[in-house]
Each structure stands twice: as structure tokens, then as C-alpha cells.
């Protein structure tokens, strides 16, 4: 009871502030209940049912979840998605970091280069998809058409199941402007004195990079990596527009499978179970990263 009382406002002034604060925050609180808690909760309920939006949900217990164990489709999309997360996230972060490093050094036309590197991140995804479809076209795309003219063999960037995911990785690395800007802001905060001291001690560019820059921005590397993992698990729009998951389902990621179950086949129960598995996977992944990151991440001022 004492503990509870400490959580509640005591004085009249505290009550006044509490009510005011809650009133101002009420749009979010109501929205949180209506658009997050309630849907996430009912998704959990639906995940234990069979539900086609027409007839009432039928209780199945754990059946939707158990069925995943020997569901070849589930294994395929889970495998594709794991591949995607493991390759696209580190490579995307690497791309963003490299661009930020280049921009942070003394170069001419810096804001011009920054604008070029940033812009792809804010282009509508549909446009990105259509432009790259054309660019990577097997016959008349800019790249393959050039290869043919020079007498080389064409490369089936988006028509071969082996290459499709890699093509997506390249497009992903091309649109890392947001992560790049975050890196850039952090790099500018690294004290110059560290570099000067290292230079006086005879450290070359690579050593300064490895022993100063990387440790100093490692928290942001972690931040960008986690954000990228969370986004990667939910990757949908680009592969959906480009090939609807093809060719040969090589780009059929988890979210595409979920979308098909929910909005094409109206298997709302199964889709909800898929969504919850995804949610738990993301939580687990994030937890594991934070647990293991202590060894790799340097927090200035932390004593650990």
C-alpha cells in the first residue's frame, strides 16, 4: 500500500499536474489503447482461431502455430527473411558508414555529395522499384544492354532466383541516406583532439580509423543495426512491387507471405499467428543483440 501510494500524486498541485499531463497526452494514450494494445491483443486471440472475415472465428487452440513446424511455405519465407536480415542489415549499415566517413573528411563539394547520397532514401518506393526493374532488365536495361554491346554475357539480375536477393541488397545499400545522416552527425561529435594525439604518436589513417572512429561511433552502429534488423524482418514493399516475391519465390519474404494469407486468401487466423511469431522473433533478436553488444560497443564515460 505504501509503495502504491508513492506512485500516486499526493498534493493538490501534483494532482493538478497529473491531470493536465494526462489530458495533453490523451491522444496518444487513447490511440495506444485503440490502435496498438487492442489490435495486438486481438491478433493474439485470432491467432488461435480460423477466421475468414465472413464466418465467426473458430477456436483452434495452438493448431496454427503447430502447423508451422511442417509447413514448407513457412520454412521458405522464414529462410529467405533470415538471409535478408543477415546480409542486408550489416551491408546496409556498412554502406551508410562508408558514405558518412567519406563525407566527414575534408572534401570539395561536400553538401553536393551529401545530397546525392541522401536523396535515394526519400524517393517513393514505387519509383525505386520501377526504375531498378528497368535498369536491371535482362535485355534493354542500362547494364545488360551495355554488357551485350561490349560482347559480354547478360546477367539475370532480377530474373534469376540466385541473383534476385543480391539485387535487392544493392538497392538497399543505395537507399541508406537516413542511417548515413545519423552516422554523419555522430562522426562530427568525435573530439578532434583524439585524432591529433594519435597522429603525433605516428598512427596512420587506418589505425586512427580502427582505434578511434569505430569505437567512438559503435553505439550508433548498434542503433542503426537494430533499426535495420527490425525493418528487415518486415521487408515488404520493394520485393512486392518488383516481382511479387519472385522469381521462383526467391524474394518471397515473411511479410509477403503474411500479406497473402491475410489480404489475398483471408486466412486471418493464420496471418495473426504469423504476425505474432514475427513479433516474438524481433523481440528475441533485439534482446540477443543488446545482450552480446556490450563486448563490442564503447560507451564514453561508462565504467563497465
Amino acid at each position: 500500500m505504501v509503495a502504491l501510494r508513492r506512485l500516486l500524486p499526493a498534493t493538490q498541485r501534483e494532482w493538478r499536474n497529473f491531470l493536465l499531463g494526462v489530458a495533453f497526452a490523451s491522444p496518444w494514450i487513447i490511440g495506444f489503447l485503440a490502435f496498438t494494445i487492442f489490435p495486438v491483443g486481438s491478433a493474439l486471440y485470432y491467432s488461435f482461431t480460423r477466421y475468414d472475415l465472413v464466418r465467426d472465428p473458430v477456436w483452434l487452440g495452438m493448431q496454427n502455430y503447430i502447423a508451422f513446424a511442417d509447413d514448407a511455405d513457412f520454412r521458405l519465407v522464414a529462410g529467405n527473411t533470415l538471409w535478408w536480415v543477415l546480409f542486408s542489415s550489416p551491408l546496409g549499415v556498412f554502406s551508410a558508414f562508408l558514405m558518412a566517413l567519406l563525407l566527414n573528411s575534408r572534401i570539395i563539394f561536400r553538401s553536393f555529395f551529401r545530397a546525392i547520397f541522401f536523396f535515394p532514401a526519400i524517393v517513393p518506393v514505387v519509383v525505386t522499384a520501377f526504375v531498378w526493374i528497368f535498369l536491371l532488365n535482362i535485355q534493354y536495361g542500362a547494364i545488360n544492354s551495355t554488357l551485350q554491346a561490349w560482347g559480354f554475357k547478360t546477367i539475370p539480375f532480377i530474373s534469376s532466383p540466385d541473383l534476385m536477393k543480391w539485387s535487392l541488397v544493392v538497392i538497399h545499400m543505395w537507399s541508406q541516406g537516413a542511417a548515413m545522416v545519423i552516422f554523419l552527425a555522430t562522426l562530427q561529435d568525435v573530439p578532434k583532439s583524439l585524432y591529433e594525439a594519435a597522429t603525433v604518436d605516428g598512427a596512420n589513417a587506418f589505425r586512427r580509423m580502427w582505434n578511434i572512429t569505430v569505437p567512438m561511433v559503435s553505439p550508433i552502429i548498434l542503433f542503426n543495426l537494430v533499426m535495420s534488423f527490425i525493418g528487415g524482418f518486415q521487408y515488404f514493399t520493394l520485393p512486392w512491387i518488383m516481382t511479387q516475391g519472385g522469381p521462383s519465390r526467391s524474394a518471397e519474404f515473411y511479410a509477403i507471405y503474411l500479406y497473402r494469407n491475410a489480404f489475398q486468401w483471408f486466412r486471418m487466423g493464420k496471418a495473426s499467428a504469423l504476425a505474432w511469431v514475427l513479433f516474438l522473433l524481433i523481440l528475441l533478436f533485439t534482446y540477443l543483440i543488446f545482450r552480446t553488444s556490450g563486448r563490442f560497443v564503447y560507451y564514453a564515460g561508462a565504467t563497465r
Binding site: 499531463g21 495533453f24 489490435p39 495486438v40 547520397f117 535515394p120 526519400i122 591529433e196 503474411l258
Partner: protein, 298 residues
Amino acid sequence: MATQLTVTHYSQPWHGRALDLLVQILKYVVLIVLAISFLLPFYWMVSSAVKNDAQVYVVPPIWFPRPQFWENFWNAWNSETFNLWTFNTVVRYALPATFGTVLSSSLVAYSFARIDWKGRNAIFAIVLATMMVPDWVRLVPLFVIFKTLGWINTFNPLVVPAFFGNAFFIFLLRQFFLALPLELSDAARIDGASELRIFVRIILPLSKAALAVVALFTFMNAWNDYLGPLIYINQVDKWVLTLGVGRLRSAVDEIGNTKLAYPWLMAVSSLITLPVFLAFFFAQRSFIEGISLTGLKG
């Protein structure tokens, strides 16, 4: 990194200096190669938009089409109801969503930044945590709810939630409000101003830059949004631009097509990128600062 490459190298051995020079050269090579490959897709898009079919289906590719068919832009735009889809995108989706997001997110951010109430830190932690909840977990039940409300094929599912605050922008605005001096509010309180009055008359006018960032980002997210309209809107006369361009794409996939499929697709793609480009061109600083603010410790 900014200065160390040009610091004088008195104490370095000759091979250290050679290495640094090599790094300098390498840096510009990488920079230029990257810049060209980043621009190439856009150049390909715009240059293909003014080609005719003979200039598209040809090896090697034509980088400088001659003659140019500028009428492609006009013809492609009028080949479908792009005017209507623009109206839907802007007036029925982006503008109301932007208004709702700015209004609600700033109110909520004000509560977390400038009103000292019990439990606010705990609630704010939940706000941040919601950013981790994947949209896909909410999508199925929300669809069921909106269907029950009869909101399918309306813009309500896209617009109404915007009036309940966005975690990301609440965070961004809270950071901004925290930086404003507390004395401003205290002085107004002593004069008997209500909290709402302080918010509207003092805090909001001082936060125009941050509000502009939120408005800009929300508007652009709506302009670029594909998944939301895909799920909730199937009636063609209620489509938005991102769904509409897909119409032109199907012509590309037809075998033996000779109807300027690629030039038209690229022309409309260029046209719907143009507003984003202009916004970025004139508000580059807002974009960059808005994004860097979010990375600096959440």
C-alpha cells in the same frame, strides 16, 4: 576525421605519409564512383522518359536520346486519371494526415517535455517501446476493425490514426521542447496563463522549425505510402498515385508491347518524384537535421 588527414606529418615515417596520400586518392576515387552510381538510376529514369520505343529497345543503350519526346510527360500523365489520384493523395490523405499528426504529436510531446506529472517517464518509455512493435502485428485486427466500421475504401483508416500521435514524432518534438528555457513557461504561469495557452502562444511559435520537420516528414510519408492504400483502398477512383503508377507498369510486362510502356512509366515516375526532389532541394537542412536528431540518443 575532418582534420587528421591534413595534419602535418612531421613525426611520421615516409611510408606512413605515402599511405595517407594513397588514402586521399582512394577516397576521391570511391567518392566519384559512388556519386555516379547513385545518380545513374535517376538519370536513366529521366532520360528514358523522353525516348520513343525505338530508342528503348536497342543495344547499346542510348544515354542521350535524340530527338527527345517531351510530350511523353503530358501524354503519360493523361493516359490515366493521374489528376484524380493526385487530388486523392494530397487532399484526402496527405494534408489531413499531416494536420492530425502535427496537432496530436505536439500536444503529447508538450505533456512529456513541459508538464511535470507522476508517471510520465514510465509512459514515455512505453511510447518509445511501441516503435518496436511491428506494423504487421496490428494490421490484421485493424483491418477487421475498420471493416466492421465500414471504413474500407475510405481514407479514414489512413487519416484517423494520425490524430492520435506518432511515437517517432512525439520523441522528436519532445527533444525540441525540452531545449526551450523553462523560464518562459514559468513567467506565463505567474501571469495566470493556462497550460493550453502557454502551449499555443509560447511553445508552438518557438517551435516552427521542428513542426515544419514533422509536417514535411508526414506529408512525404503519405505521398510515398504504398502499403496503407494497398490494403484499404481497392476502388480505382479512390486510388492514390503510388497505386496508380502500377497501371502503367502492367503495360511493361505485356509481351510485344509497342505502346511506349517504358517511357511512360519512367515519365510518371519522374513526375511523382519531382515534388519530393523540390521539397528536398529547398528544405535540405530540415531533412538532415530532423533525421540526425532521432539518432542522437533514444
